[in-house]
């Protein structure tokens, strides 16, 4: 019998993505401990990592980190393919979409804080849409919009500050 050996050689990029994804996963699992006053209301600390990776290594790596985080964290929390997973995935995809545009804003004027808040709004926007179309087919879910929007500003600001502070460190 011939032993077939598939050898995967991870590149430096692979290792970096894995390292950042691990940090993002740890943050997601850690914040899952915090009780939520409202469904969908949480700090989204993992986005600090996404923002830092975006600024330093580009959108492709940020997308890898963000999506690996969504899948792995949902597996760890037993949420994989549950409604929360799809909300999380939809929010992450929308955020990445907005960040793809926001990263081209002039650096002199817009920093990680802007990107963080814009991404947070994209996140809750996508989640409200998914909730409205699929989970709670009633316009009542939009009554949550102002509260979730307020959370997007506050947590977007905090995460943006954290990302900006991280980015002052050497890589």
């Amino acid at each position: 019998m011939t032993r077939s050996v598939i050898e995967l050689t991870p590149t430096d990029t692979d290792r970096r993505i894995a390292r950042h994804a691990a940090a993002a996963i740890a943050l997601t699992v850690a914040e899952a401990v915090i009780p939520l006053p409202l469904p969908g209301l949480k700090p989204g600390l993992a986005n600090i990592i996404t923002l830092a990776v975006l600024a330093r290594w580009g959108w492709r790596e940020a997308a890898w980190v963000s999506l690996l985080r969504v899948f792995a964290a949902s597996l760890l929390l037993g949420q994989f393919l549950a409604p929360g997973f799809f909300l999380s995935l939809g929010g992450a995809l929308a955020s990445l979409g907005v960040l793809a545009g926001a990263m081209h804003l002039p650096r002199r004027w817009f920093g990680p804080v802007s990107q963080s808040i814009l991404a947070a709004f994209a996140h809750i926007g996508a989640q409200l849409l998914i909730a409205r179309l699929w989970l709670t087919p009633h316009d009542g879910v939009f009554y949550l919009a102002p509260i979730l929007g307020g959370a997007a500003v506050v947590f977007g600001l905090i995460n943006g500050f954290a990302a900006a502070a991280l980015l002052r460190e050497p890589a």
Binding site: G111, I117, Y143, G149, L157, A165
Partner: protein, 128 residues
């Protein structure tokens, strides 16, 4: 990670604008979504037919004829009520001021009804 000397130093000019726009969006959403239930106008029906449609901007009275006599509807900015009705039990009069969209006062004996219109009515339709 060292904490920065001043956290505000991490903000760039456009960031302030984004924060302000975010807050403005939330306030606007709050006002437009949570104001639900404010009535926009009223519809008066007599004998099942629409007798009058009006807005609630200024105070006035509408006299509606019915089989028993005249029902008087009183309108004030933002609210309306049945002021007098010839019906025997006066249910619609004792209902008092109607202030929410979808609120109804029905004077069944005199076949007069008063409905406040607007977003967020509590029922789909009304028939006799």
């Amino acid at each position: 990670m060292r904490p920065p000397a001043t956290w505000l130093g991490l903000l760039r000019p456009g960031d302030y604008a984004v924060v302000a726009a975010g807050i403005a969006l939330c306030v606007y959403a709050g006002f437009s979504l949570w104001r639900g239930g404010a009535p926009e106008g009223l519809i008066v029906r007599a004998g099942g037919e629409i007798f009058a449609e009006a807005d609630l901007s200024r105070a006035r009275r509408i006299a509606v004829p019915g089989p028993l006599g005249t029902t008087v509807i009183e309108i004030e900015p933002g609210r309306a009520r049945i002021a007098t009705d010839p019906g025997p039990r006066q249910y619609c009069v004792r209902q008092g001021w109607l202030t929410r969209a979808g609120a109804v006062a029905i004077c069944a004996p005199n076949e007069v009804s008063l409905i406040l219109t607007g977003r967020g009515g509590d029922f789909d339709s009304l028939g006799y």
